[in-house]
Amino acid sequence: MLNRYPLWKNLFILFVVVLGLLYSAPNLYPDDEAILINNENFEISEADIALVETVLEAAQIEFFGVVSDENSMQFRFGDVDDQFRAKTIIEEALTDDYIVALNLAPTTPGWMQAIGADKMNLGLDLQGGVHFLMEVDMEAALERRMQDNLSNVRSILREQRIRTRGINLVDNTYLEVRFSSSQERFAARSELINNFPEVQFQNREVNDLFLLDMRLSPDVILQTQRDTLQANRTTLLNRVDALGVSEPTVQQQGSDRIVVELPGVQDPAQAIRILQRIATLEFHLEAELGASRTSFEAYQTPDGLPVNVDNDVILQGDRISSVRSTLDQNGLPQVQINLDAQGGNQINRVTRENVGRNMDILLIETKSRTIASLDEQGNEVEEIEFFEEKRLISHATIRTALPRTFVITGLTAREANDLSLLISSGSLAAPMTIVEQSVIGPSMGRENLESGFRGVQIASALVVLFMLMYYRLFGLAANAALIMNILLIFSVMSLIGATLTLPGIVGIVLTVGMAVDANVLIFTRIREELANGIAPQQAIDSGYNRAFTTIFDANLTTFLVAVVLFTIGTGPVKGFAVTLMIGIVTSMFTAIVGTRAIINLIYGGRSVKILSIGRYSRSLSSST
């Protein structure tokens, strides 16, 4: 029968409507102000929680919803003032090893979270936060790799008893080895070529010297840069986790930059401090007894045992591909370290000859501290100073020639865990600098969000009113579809975890316009059909059918544009494209299928003389 949807279709629409309501509902629950406390190096214990609870109670700050796991604990507060006061108090009570971060905790009921119904993520511009652009120092990464190669070349040639007249680092991709005879050079070359598959070799003669040039090939340089960037990105992600940001963006941009966006971070200064903390790892041998005083430095193990560490680096932290704390077959804790291929060769060669000696791992952290001093006018000024801090984190005896994957044993469970955390935080491949940062205050974000939504609300209200006046009952159907459309956009965005930004809100506004446009196209067609004297039921049917091609073409072209913008753009462009794409799909559904269902329910399957679609009848009578 004309203008009747089969039951399954009506049920399907109902199903979509319910889903839409369900998954957009979490956005109605406002977040709680909270404080997240992390310790980078150690697990959070019961004692830590008790300590924080005691100081908060002493300061008469009310808190609730305490949750904790081994890495962090979280406290919720009634308002921002309590949250800020609590932060100061907690920071005073805990040592510097703890990171005390302000954040927001969701309040959606458990069952909603269980079905994956979460709040929409809000972009930086809507909830405030920080945006950093970090540049990775690729030259430093390459230099380190070449330094690494240099000490390898030296030890291989020493092993093979090939004498050189010196090894020289010409630049960060180019190493020059000098020999006094071509025989020596030939011997060296055939030995080295097996050990350095990634290096291009070339012979050269200058005066009486026989030179062997070792260069990194462009491919290797590119690969190194790629790996370095990836390693830095991973490390940044781990650090960002400590801040408890719900939806951080840590993205590669170009060949040597990383974008970090931390929406909702309420204390940007702290975020900067944590992200800028640069850590690297070095593996060394313990200095032999009687070694020259200049060839080692003195350190202390975590247990306070003094150790002299040889200056030669046998392995850099960027050779580590993964690290974790596990249990051996006897259930004893251990730290398992996986190296990449070259790292494996390196460590194997060194350890093969040094079984029985001790191997040390140093963690080198670049930290910043604020120093207060007096300037010429006698005012107190604060300056940020960077300094390097080297720590011995592991001191263990080499039992056998180590392969690519090896374990450090003889640790307690806690030591194993701490060590693996320290090693993974130290495998940052190259130093980074912040080249651009922008901060959007939380209040500004809230203002953007509120004004943006107020705009959408008022705009929708006006459109709803206009449609109702112009198209009467059909306008009502279009309005229902419009509201459904906005809910669907919200729920799809919440579901796929897309981030809503100010340009995104604008994208929604544009879709509201386009959704209405689809209905305008359909309704004007129906009016045209009616004006041509076609019966109401047929007019509805052919109006929908004939408008469909137009709507489809118009929406598909716009969708293509949105896809292009999404692929090419970043930041605001992407945010806009996402909502536009979602909006086009949902609006096609609500404006065509949704309104049709409503119209069918109203008019379908009965005899109808007049449609409530505005002024068509008058124009029909005036023309006849």
Binding site: P503, V573, V593
Partner: protein
């Protein structure tokens, strides 16, 4: 009533073409001569971080800055309600290296000036030079995105309609973008990331409008056996006129409410889109169809045996 209008749109097509060509020319010249008034997103600037001993009144700071000649300064809170960050545009005549050095002096001067106007103690936390690299890259991306989008649209319309229609749509699109940018340039309105987003939205809107009209032209060519292309286009424009106007009205309703209610951050966006929608409405009537006529569209162009309504299966 809508289908009964019989306005001879194409009768003034030469005038329309002339007016559009002139507007586009003025826009291009202005873009070359005046360029755009780029906001801080795209230009370099000095970022000064300040700490107040008491809660900062942002409005008061803004007022002070304006009275002291820092018209384009942007103030945001930073971390707590006592820390603020002021963004100042820099003098573009100074070399980039010197900018970095000057940043310190700029910061001190600003701190001293703000200190005089408030009872609370103002401490300078730091001042840095922010380079415009990122904004420039974004602008490049935006530009590249538009070009790629144009290409894809042309192909799609050529397949679905005919290549003369793709030219028409793309000319209309370029027309809308150039003139909107031109208006921003002539009146030196600020062009920032929000306005860039608006330009992208204009692409969507302008296309939507053009496709609807083209679709009707195609339908009429296939349906009506008689009539010159000009008559055909005129009939199509009249038939779609009510839809064109209603959609423009609803969109403008939305945009004006954003302009007046949406707050400062979305105003630039709303203005850009209002201009874009007005020009887009005009161009969907006078430009796209005009180009199609100039290109001598014939009935045969559209008589390719496309099965009308082939996509309708399974939908209402």
């Amino acid at each position: 009533m809508q289908s009964k209008t019989e306005i001879d749109f194409m009768g003034v097509r030469r005038v329309a073409a002339g007016v559009s060509a002139m507007l586009a020319l003025v826009s291009v010249i202005s873009l070359f001569v005046n360029s755009l008034n780029f906001g801080l997103d795209f230009t370099s600037g000095t970022s000064v971080r300040l700490n107040y001993s008491e809660t900062v009144d942002i409005d008061q700071v803004n007022l002070t800055l304006q009275q002291s000649g820092y018209d384009d300064a942007v103030v945001v809170t930073f971390g707590s309600d006592r820390d603020i960050r002021v963004l100042l545009p820099v003098d573009s005549s100074v070399e980039e290296q010197d900018q970095a050095e000057q940043a310190a002096q700029v910061g001190e001067a600003l701190a001293a000036m703000l200190q005089e106007e408030t009872r609370s103690q103002v401490t300078l936390l730091g001042s840095d030079y922010v380079s415009a690299k990122v904004g420039e890259e974004l602008a490049e991306q935006g530009g590249l995105g538009m070009l790629v989008a144009l290409g894809i649209i042309m192909v799609y319309i050529a397949v679905r309609f005919q290549f003369k229609f793709s030219i028409g749509a793309v000319v209309a699109l370029a027309h809308d973008l150039i003139i909107t940018l031109g208006i921003f340039s002539v009146f030196q309105m600020e062009f920032n990331l929000n306005t860039l987003a608006a330009m992208l939205a204009i692409i969507g809107y302008s296309l939507n409008d053009t496709i609807v009209v083209s679709d009707r032209i195609r339908e009429n060519f296939r349906r009506l056996r008689k009539g010159s292309p000009i008559e055909m286009v005129n009939a199509s424009l009249n038939q779609t006129l009510s839809r064109t106007l209603i959609t423009s009205i609803t969109t403008l309703l939305v945009l004006f409410s954003i302009l007046f209610i949406g707050g400062e951050s979305t105003q630039g966006f709303a203005i850009a889109l209002i201009i874009g929608v007005v020009i887009g409405t005009y161009s969907s009537i006078y430009i796209a169809s005009n180009v199609i006529i100039y290109m001598n569209v014939t009935r045969e162009d559209l008589m390719t045996p496309v099965k009308e309504g082939a996509e309708l299966d399974g939908l209402p």
